[in-house]
Symmetry: C2
Subunit: 435 residues, 2 copies
Amino acid sequence: MRMYDIIAKKRDGKKLDNKDIAFFINGYIKEQIPDYQASAFLMAAFLNGLDDDETVHLTKVMASSGDMADLRELGTVADKHSTGGVADTTTLIVVPLVCACGLKVAKMSGRGLGHTGGTLDKLESIPGMSVSLEMNAFMSQVKRIGGAVIGQTMNMCPADKMLYALRDVTATVESIPLIASSIMSKKLASGSNIIMLDVKTGSGAFMTDPDNAQKLANTMVRIGNMAGRKTAAIISDMSQPLGLAVGNSLEVIEAIDVLSGRIQGDLLTVSLSLASRMLCLANIAKNDEDANAMLLEALHSKRALHKFGEIITAQGGNTNVIHDTSLMPHARIISTLHAKSEGILTATDCKRIGEAAGMLGAGRLKKDDIIDPAVGFIIKKRIGDTVKYGDELFEVHANDENKIEEAMKYLEKCITLTNSAKSPTLIYGLVSSCG
Amino acid sequence: MRMYDIIAKKRDGKKLDNKDIAFFINGYIKEQIPDYQASAFLMAAFLNGLDDDETVHLTKVMASSGDMADLRELGTVADKHSTGGVADTTTLIVVPLVCACGLKVAKMSGRGLGHTGGTLDKLESIPGMSVSLEMNAFMSQVKRIGGAVIGQTMNMCPADKMLYALRDVTATVESIPLIASSIMSKKLASGSNIIMLDVKTGSGAFMTDPDNAQKLANTMVRIGNMAGRKTAAIISDMSQPLGLAVGNSLEVIEAIDVLSGRIQGDLLTVSLSLASRMLCLANIAKNDEDANAMLLEALHSKRALHKFGEIITAQGGNTNVIHDTSLMPHARIISTLHAKSEGILTATDCKRIGEAAGMLGAGRLKKDDIIDPAVGFIIKKRIGDTVKYGDELFEVHANDENKIEEAMKYLEKCITLTNSAKSPTLIYGLVSSCG
């Protein structure tokens, strides 16, 4: 078998068999196949596509290229993944909610990069909280209290890491089968038997177009189910930040506010939608109606909030934050951006809003950048809101005066005011075999 | 400007401008652009194509990536190129023929590789003959006697050499615009203002399919003309060896036989077709009829044969070979392959016939293999001929008894006998703006 022939096969639009894909991935991680052959293959796959069989097999081979978590002793256990966005704090709400309803969650999360935030960075803004648990501690925490959120171990899916780095410099990232296999390989390696996906669409999402988001969701759900995991997805809006808080500590505070019942809105709606589907996949709820009743009970009784507290305690954090958010890190300077014109908020450049948070120090441009947990901003107007001259648009939290002005200038250009506006659809669709 | 964006542009089927192409080629030869980006680009270009403007510009930039021969002081001067085949000795016939009619030829040739022979190897089988002339000596020889055939200088088209090596291992060779730009960049760098192309098709050709050969011919002629060179092409058959002799010395002997008027056949027919077109492009002949009359006079008067002698002398060779071919190298062993069945010769595997010559030592598998000028074989039956049991099929010339048997076994499998046969079309078409 030669890599040359595998490249030629995909170039000519023929179907790769399992041996071809295994030969490629195994050879590539051993550095027996050079980057220039891998990138020619990736471009051929980008342009000629990969069908479901090929994509599932690619995903499985990538998943087994490194460590695979063996969670069988936990029984039914769920994972949840968002394709990334701004003010997307659903994990911090969904995990305690479903745990409070009896579903175990063993979640492996990522860090923020570029304009999107990362769950691990948010959790680490809680004083004392650790996300670096050994596998045994992770398992026993899930067994004991029902949930844990940690970072992926270093040697999980090395093939995906290598291929993603190559795709990133060869213009082969935006391919649905390649994106789907990259995400799902990590989910398969993470070991959960229930996988709930949240595919974002809009100006702040990786998939700006809803049709492509739908396709990606379909592909990932098919991969998951073909690989023997119960998988479902929602397609949800990221044309504006999902919550009102952008920044690590600010988003944790918002999650606590949601779990405490103090605020509702889109963040809660999407969280309930994800949680409801997860309870259905786990056969804990018979249907959405049943699931919603269970979830609202967990919310209103504060059982979900206390579950979040249990998880914080288990991972070394100061659990008092759930009752007193002033214990969370706060920025030194709070400054408000006021409207200099009038109209109805028609559109936001959600990606730029994420980038503005990065400018303040809330995110990373490069992997080894150090983030400031306290900085970020609170959004005061959402799409469809009327804006009058002088109205508050953003409340900016910063620790560096020089950065405030830069971020504010950037934020000003992120919103469009016109005479009319249509509120975006919040949840575009659902891909699931659950009733 | 970033290579990433140029890859993405071609990936998305957009048209590259001249700056994009120059950035790619210039960056690649300076090793500022890595192989893995170049190969992703090549696959995108392979699958999405390059239009005429892109191909012409790519060709020009590759041509100017190294030394360019400046032949302006020679006035009108022609070059001739074949896409390669077996027993394709046309250069040794065409160059003296057109020189004898007053057209200067400054030909830079290649060596044989794989199953195809190379003009330089053939010429070097003439005792004493050199193909390594300095540029000044090359120019003055063309000025003095009208023709010279040498090897390309080392630093001509380095971009093409690098890209070809990469295409060869990334399954991106068989692209018409990439093949056309590779061939034509060398022709542009070689400096002639008339370019005559012979695009081969059939089992022994790079382009097995006549339609693709026609497309390649069209593309190369357009590139040549757009780059300001008078360019024409014929598409000719390579479903069987063109001449009857395969092997370096044997092919030189056959060329001398043709120029001496002792043999006719397909080799002469294709040579006259190429030569005729060259005289038209140079305005030495008004039309094909006129050109043919001039060429036949040069042939019958032996002026073409003596011109070949002049070229041999000028390049240090023993010119007596044109009168006495026994002065050429001869193999120690001559053995005949006889037919073991009967029928009409329907098809030959022309590529395998070339490979059989390679087994005897007539060709190279790797660039640094040493060839034996004397070995090869004489073909006794052509497609359409009736073969009776015991008829001579091949006369094998060898210097190593062990290799004879191996080559004979291989040759036996190269021919197909059935009940009927159709002689192949010899010349499929002509691409030219000449009347």
